[in-house]
């Protein structure tokens, strides 16, 4: 399992963001930032993902989707909230259909603020997420060892 910390697979979901952060997440894949050279792959399948990148504040309709995607991911998993919307609701927090930050729905491990969050910051957030992932993995091992 230690391989996952070397080449993490990422799943990205847009929970009512303005798109600004989404395209920055995609921009990480361009030749300019090129995260694929580190083995980071953007996958659409929650069952293969290690890191859940989530942008935008959650709204009433997609909170179930977010929960479901999170539940489908195998342990250990890390959630990275990208953009100020995902962190706290940001400029949208007063909107009638917005619940608030992603942490109201699922536990968040890394917060990447910014509006829009820059690709460098997003990559940084993913790298931070890797540390958390490693810790979670060790914990999981210990638990299994004790059994």
């Amino acid at each position: 399992m230690s391989g996952t910390t070397k080449s993490p697979w990422i799943m990205h979901y847009d929970a009512s963001s303005c798109n600004g952060c989404d395209i920055e997440v995609l921009a990480c894949l361009t030749p300019v930032y090129d995260v694929e050279r580190f083995g980071v792959i953007n996958t659409g399948d929650p069952k293969q993902a290690d890191i859940f990148l989530i942008t935008g504040a959650v709204n009433d309709q997609n909170k179930e989707v977010v929960k479901q995607l999170y539940d489908q991911m195998p342990e250990p998993k890390v959630v990275v909230a990208v953009g100020i919307c995902a962190c706290s609701g940001g400029i949208f927090r007063d909107c009638y259909n917005i619940i608030g930050g992603v942490d109201k729905i699922i536990p968040v491990d890394v917060y990447v603020p910014g509006c829009a969050a820059r690709p460098e910051a997003i990559i940084d957030g993913v790298v931070k997420g890797l540390d958390v992932l490693e810790k979670k993995r060790l914990k999981l091992r210990e638990k299994e060892g004790k059994k």
């Binding site: 847009d14 009512s16 600004g20 921009a27 659409g44 709204n59 007063d94 259909n97 509006c115």
Partner: protein, 359 residues
């Protein structure tokens, strides 16, 4: 008759970065009907006009969508200026056009990349996005923001450009044009691309008029509804609508390729002919009772901005009707009778911006 099945598409799907859900009714592998359901990105921005005064509301409006964010800012500012009877300086108008066209270039390049990705042509996707980053570099150098720039404000633009910045804009245009000459050819000539695009997802002229589709989708079927033709400054900068007649995916693609080239020309003309003077006028006081409508040609089509004042600093309504919103019926018509494998590509050809649609 084959067996009927219903295949859910989305809301989370690798082909689309944004959540939209389609129920695809299939007969064998042919789509008989596609039923869209939206609401996954709805935030309720229009209501915020009651809580933010009209000068601050522009920050919210810019976040209707992060891709055409400049255009939304312009549309809202234009509507408020109309309501308040403010005339903005020519230099500000010209700078707005320059920025809007730069946004169009990056938005179309982004779309070309997504289309290539939908085709499974990854290297082409990379090339389009590599070129696109040049535009973002210009934005970052001038405004400090890459996607959401806050450059537009009610009454003009926030800052003037120095001669060095103008030179950077022009150099970037030259560079992009150079690269687009090669990359555009791939979309135009490459057999594997043409095989997928030519003749798929055909919308006739009548369909377009029936369903009132807008933007490159309409222009790919030979219907001209480009709002830019109504703006005299655009005409001076050398604007003429780009039209293709076939109505298939390839036409829609070529409209966008040609529009990139034309926008680059217009930006260079704007740099050359930039009028002197101020870049903004102060806008103060309460908004009068009344309403105003302003239209902007977004990269995806006509954007429609409506504001209603009630004599206070807060507007009673700020309404946006965005291009994707109006293009969704065209998309469902296009999907009828297509092959399952083409669904994601067809959805991409209307350049869906769900964030705009649902606000």
């Amino acid at each position: 008759m084959g067996k009927r099945t219903i295949v859910p598409f989305g809301p989370q799907h690798p082909a689309l970065p944004e959540p939209v859900h389609l129920d695809l009714e299939l007969e064998d592998e042919t789509v008989v009907r596609a039923i869209p359901s939206i609401g996954y990105v709805h935030r309720g921005l229009e209501k915020l006009a009651e809580k933010r005064d009209y000068n601050d509301m522009i920050y919210v409006m810019e976040r209707v969508c992060g891709i055409c964010s400049f255009g939304h800012g312009w549309g809202y500012a234009g509507a408020v200026e109309g309501l308040m009877s403010v005339q903005i300086p020519d230099r500000a108008e010209c700078l707005r056009i320059m920025f809007h066209e730069l946004s169009r270039v990056h938005s179309h390049l982004l779309w070309l990349g997504l289309l290539a990705d939908g085709l499974g042509f990854d290297s082409l996707f990379m090339h389009c996005w590599r070129i696109r980053e040049r535009v973002l570099d210009v934005f970052e150098a001038i405004t400090g923001g890459r996607v959401v720039m806050s450059f537009c404000k009610v009454g003009g633009v926030r800052k003037d450009l120095t001669p060095e910045m103008l030179k950077m804009v022009k150099d970037t245009c030259d560079m992009i044009e150079d690269e687009m000459r090669k990359t555009g050819l791939v979309f135009m000539k490459d057999t594997s691309v043409r095989n997928r695009l030519c003749g798929t997802g055909v919308l006739s002229r009548e369909d377009i008029i029936d369903l009132s589709a807008v933007g490159p989708v309409a222009r790919g079927s030979g219907v001209n509804n480009d709002v830019r033709s109504a703006n005299p400054m655009y005409r001076d900068l050398g604007f003429s609508p780009v039209l293709y007649d076939d109505g298939d995916c390839w036409s829609r693609c070529m409209v966008r390729v040609d529009e990139i080239m034309q926008s680059l020309d217009m930006i260079r003309n704007a740099v050359r002919d930039l009028p002197d003077g101020d870049v903004s006028v102060p806008v103060k006081g309460n908004a009068p009772v009344g309403d105003y409508v302003f239209r902007v040609e977004q990269p995806r089509g006509e954007g429609f901005y409506y504001v209603q004042g009630n004599g206070s600093k807060f507007l009673s309504r700020a309404r946006v009707r965005t291009p994707t919103n109006i293009n969704i019926p065209a998309m469902t018509r296009m999907l009828q009778g297509c092959n399952l494998q083409d669904v994601s590509m067809l959805v991409i050809t209307i350049d869906p911006c769900i964030s705009c649609t649902e606000r």
